[in-house]
Symmetry: C2
Subunit: 201 residues, 2 copies
C-alpha cells in the first residue's frame, strides 16, 4: 500500500465517522453562547458571528456594556456600513478602573441590560451580542440570576444570544449551550510591544 493509498484510506475512515456523527445533529435552536478567558479574540470572534449574520441578511444587534472593551474599528464598520441590519448600542463609558464611580457604572449597566432585553424580545433580531456583559456581572452591576432567568424564560427560542468577557460567572456557563475559553498562551505586551491598530483596535 502506497503512502497516498494509506492516506486515502485513513481519510475515508475519518469521513465515514464524521458523516455518521453529523447525521445525528438535526435540531436547530437559538443558542446561548459564551466567550470567556484571559486570551484575545472573545469580542472579535463574536463580531465574526455578527458579520456572518450580516452576510446572510439576518438582522442582529449589539449592546456594548463596557466601551473600552471593544474595537472601535468593528463598531465604526457596523455603524458606518451596516446600521440598517445591525443595531448598535454603546451603554458603558470605558472600563471600570477608568471611571472609578460605582454608582454611575451600576446605572449604565442597568440601562444596557434594559436595552438588551428589548432587543432580545424583538424576534426580528436573530442574534444579540452582549459585549463585555461578563464584566458587569462580575462587579455585580447587574444581577446574574435576573439575566439567567430572562434567557431561560423570555428569549425567543430561535434567537442566539452571545455573552462575552473574562471571568464568566459559573451560573452563566452552566446556562449556556456553547462556551469557548480563549486562553492566553503568549502575548507581545510582555516584551514591550504596545497595542496596535488592526490587531487590538
Amino acid at each position: 500500500m502506497s503512502d497516498d493509498d494509506r492516506h486515502a484510506a485513513k481519510m475515508a475512515k475519518k469521513k465515514a465517522a464524521r458523516d455518521k456523527i453529523m447525521a445525528t445533529k438535526t435540531d436547530e435552536k437559538g443558542l446561548v453562547i459564551v466567550h470567556t478567558g484571559k486570551g484575545k479574540g472573545k469580542s472579535s470572534a463574536a463580531f465574526g458571528m455578527i458579520f456572518r449574520c450580516i452576510a446572510h441578511d439576518m438582522r442582529s444587534a449589539v449592546v456594548q456594556f463596557i466601551k473600552g472593551g471593544m474595537s472601535t474599528g468593528e463598531r465604526d464598520l457596523i455603524l458606518g456600513r451596516f446600521s440598517d441590519i445591525c443595531a448598535f448600542h454603546t451603554m458603558g463609558e470605558g472600563f471600570t478602573w477608568e471611571t472609578q464611580d460605582r454608582s454611575r457604572d451600576t446605572e449604565m449597566a442597568a440601562a444596557a441590560w434594559e436595552k438588551a432585553k428589548e432587543l432580545i424580545r424583538d424576534q426580528e433580531n436573530r442574534m444579540v451580542l452582549l459585549d463585555e456583559i461578563n464584566i458587569a456581572l462580575r462587579y455585580e452591576y447587574i444581577d446574574v440570576a435576573d439575566v439567567i432567568a430572562f434567557l431561560a424564560e423570555e428569549k425567543p427560542p430561535m434567537t442566539h444570544v452571545v455573552l462575552t468577557g473574562r471571568n464568566a460567572h459559573p451560573d452563566v456557563i452552566e446556562a449556556a449551550d456553547l462556551v469557548t475559553e480563549m486562553e492566553l498562551v503568549k502575548h507581545p505586551f510582555r516584551s514591550g510591544i504596545k497595542a496596535q491598530i488592526g490587531v487590538e483596535y
Copy 2:
C-alpha cells in the same frame, strides 16, 4: 468608608497599576499571531482583525488553505463589499477527509503557500491571514521549517501575519509573538444541535 468609596479606591489603584504597565509598551512591530485549539472562534477572531483593518482603511489579504474551514458568510461579505481593500484567495477544496487525495491536497497547499508568500512580500498588505494553514502544516502538505524561515527572513517588519487552525505546530508557537488557544468548554453538537447559519457559517 462607604461601599462606593471602597470601590473607587480599589479602581483607582487598578488604574494606576495599569497605566504604569501600559507606559512601558512603546514599540510597534508586525506580529506573527496564532489562533489554535479545539474551540470555536479561531477563524472568526482572525476575521474580526481583518474587519478592523478594513475599518481603518488598511489593506489586507486572506488565503484560505482549507475551503471548508471558514464561514462562507465572512468570505462573501469580503468578496462582495470589500474586495477593493482585502484580497481573498481560496486555494483548498474542503477538508482533507472530504477529498481523500493526498497528492492533490499537497499541490493545493503548495499553491496556497506560494500565493501567501507573494501577498506577505507586498508591503501594501498590513495584515495577511493564512486561514487553516495549521491543518496543512499538520498533515505536512507544506514544510513547517520553510514557513518559519520565510516569516523570520522575508516578512516585512511591520506586516502582521495570522495563522489559524487546530494543532498548531510547536515550532510555529515558538516563532509566534501572540498565541491564543481557543478551548472548547461546552458544545451543543453534544446534545444533537446541528451547525446553524450565523453561528457556524
